[in-house]
Amino acid sequence: MQRSDRWVGLGLAVLGLAVLWTARAFPTVPGQKLGSAFLPMIIGAGLLVCALALIARSFRGGAYVAGGDAEAAREHFGSAVVIVGAVLAYVLLADRIGFLFIVPLCLLATFLALRVRFAAALIWAVGGTLLVHAAFYKLLRVPLPWGPLPPLY
């Protein structure tokens, strides 16, 4: 039994209701009673029932067992946020400023968030970028964005 069950259950119940609500609009197969709404309806109803059971159990369960690494995780949650931020920054900026500019910045931020020393982080960030670019752009011909730069090779 985890402390989070109650809130997660609430979230799942809302999700289940939303799925049920939106699924009503899906059409049926011509000539059949059921259609595209059937599976989403089952999923929505299932989520709702499970969510209610989860909430009920969390009230009945009594003693909590804190989720394994929950305590330790709270301390360094910031590092995980930096990683998510780095990926988002890549998604938003890669086309505009190019792979070769955005990636070293993203890498540097994640290295520092994971407590790598600055000098080492800088070397790895630049080296890693060039290596991955060479491997994927040149060898595997993946069109990584150049941004404002003219294609250099």
Binding site: S4, Q32, L39, L47, A53, A80, V87, V91, G128, V132
Partner: protein, 495 residues
């Protein structure tokens, strides 16, 4: 016979052999680093295999995973940290052996019994898969519907600790699977107007997110103290292994059989196989009191089981397209990408491809002996590589890899969201494997359900009328009802 010769010809080519060798080294490396799992190794391989022919692509996955499951034993013995979750069951046992000055026995047993268990798993795969495929040729949508349901049932009730959370995991997977146009009335479901979602959520970026990004987030969020490698010189890892084989033949056989069986059950893979085998070993041991004090018997049985599970997992994956574990869930995605759609017809139309997969599997087991020995030799160097330098580089690889499949930035967003979802699910105690099963099997479930319903003209009883379908259906219902029966019985006993 001709097909067998063709299959050998397909595998024994310089290019394929080079791919096998490189992916073996890669698998050994990833498996030996705590925090990087065999499933993650597979997910990261996919973008690279995307640019290969079908056989080398499958060979890369098969070899890398076999090696990774073994090399997960190395940091277990030297650091008391399992390299992959599949080694967790006997990590304490292996480390205690090392502390007692017997590191070579812990590592040697890990290696030798991984190879033996692996060979057993491959033999089971070679014998069971073609036989099952012949039966499966007769299957209609009714049988497939119940097989998928049985897959979900296994993942929830047999592999999971908490059935309620397991059901939620399956439902989340199904919810991801319903996105897109591929449904009975071809209506756009949950596409929110994005053309990128019309074709459904791309499987590979999703897997990379769930298995690699979530691990990176977990690594970042949880403080892991760098451990010092046990600085003890150790002798030849092969010394005394033959004696162990002669001493524990039953453990070896039992562990391998259990491993192959658990592997073949959908949703349960090498890690669950190892836990079960360790438990069974202790239960039937002549010296159960020695377990937990640095006793090799559990390592023999569980070490064989986790490698046997790999072969077992490919049985339902190749025959029915139903993954036996998370690794084969990704592999099925690769098979579809390569036009080798899994199913019994693959055995009829392209038997040489199936034989080639079997040959690669066997080759990987034999390669494990020398390469595993070499990996143990350089283990101290591998284990000194700091994981906080590796993780950002893996992150970059994930981004570029997800992009490379369709050259789509949208797929990077899918990867990120899947990563956050996987991370949250793990923290809140929801198993990820049933979700993957739901995603992979969602459209298959819906398609077979509707074609069955149309054939049966809306009569639900028809789902039980064919003999095999009926048996599978009743089996599902019995497993669903079992917890209720057990609860009733408990209450009855209490009153």
């Amino acid at each position: 016979m001709d097909t067998l010769v063709t299959a050998f010809g397909m595998v024994f080519q310089p290019y394929v052999l080079l791919v096998v060798l490189l992916s073996a080294c890669y698998g050994l490396f990833v498996g030996a680093i705590p925090g990087l799992t065999a499933t993650m190794a597979t997910a990261l391989l996919v973008p690279v295999t995307f640019f290969m022919e079908p056989i080398p692509a499958v060979a890369a996955i098969v070899t890398a995973t076999a090696m990774a499951i073994f090399s997960g034993d190395i940091p277990s013995a030297l650091l008391r940290m399992p390299g992959t979750p599949a080694s967790a069951a006997y990590t304490d046992e292996a480390y205690l052996l090392t502390r007692a000055g017997h590191a070579e026995i812990a590592l040697g047993a890990g290696l030798v019994f991984s190879v033996l268990g692996g060979i057993f798993g491959v033999l089971v795969l070679c014998l069971a898969a073609p036989t099952l495929a012949e039966v499966a040729l007769e299957f209609s949508s009714f049988e497939y519907f119940w097989l998928v349901m049985l897959g979900f049932t296994c993942a929830v009730f047999i592999a999971g600790k908490d059935p309620l959370k397991g059901i939620v995991s399956v439902l989340i997977g199904l919810l991801i699977a319903v996105v897109g146009l591929e449904n009975p009335a071809a209506a756009p479901r949950y596409t929110f107007g994005y053309p990128d979602l019309m074709g459904g959520i791309a499987l590979i970026p999703l897997m990379i997110g769930m298995f690699a990004i979530s691990e990176i987030l977990r690594f970042a969020a949880v403080v892991v103290k760098p451990e010092r490698v046990a600085e003890r010189p150790f002798g030849n890892v092969f010394t005394g292994m033959w004696a162990l084989v002669k001493k524990y033949p039953l453990s070896l056989l039992r562990g391998s059989s259990l491993g192959a069986l658990v592997g073949a059950l959908p949703g349960a893979g090498a890690d669950i196989a190892a836990w079960m085998a360790y438990g069974v070993s202790k239960r039937f041991s002549k010296e159960p009191e020695k377990f937990g004090t640095g006793h090799v018997e559990g390592i023999v049985e569980a070490g064989a089981a986790n490698n046997a599970a790999l072969g077992g997992a490919w049985i339902p994956a190749l025959v029915f397209g139903i993954p036996g574990d998370s690794i084969t869930a990704i592999a099925i995605g690769v098979l579809y990408l390569k036009g080798l759609n899994p199913g019994p017809t693959l055995f009829v139309n392209h038997p040489q491809n199936i034989y080639a997969v079997f040959i690669v599997f066997m080759l990987a087991q034999f390669l494990m002996l020398p390469l595993g020995w070499a990996a143990i030799k350089v283990a101290k160097q591998i284990l000194r590589i700091p994981a906080n330098v590796l993780m950002p580089l893996i992150l970059l690889f994930c981004i570029v890899g997800s992009f490379a499949i369709n050259n789509s930035t949208f797929d990077i967003i899918v990867m990120l969201l899947a990563g956050v979802l996987g991370f949250c699910m793990e923290r809140w105690g929801f198993p990820v494997a049933p979700t993957i099963l739901g995603v992979v099997l969602g459209s298959m479930l819906e398609q077979h359900f509707f074609s069955s319903l149309i054939k049966a003209d809306g009569n639900f009883l028809a789902f039980f009328e064919r003999p095999i379908a009926g048996t599978l259906g009743v089996l599902c219902l019995l497993i669903w009802l079992w917890p209720v029966v057990r609860m009733r019985r408990k209450r009855h006993q209490l009153s």
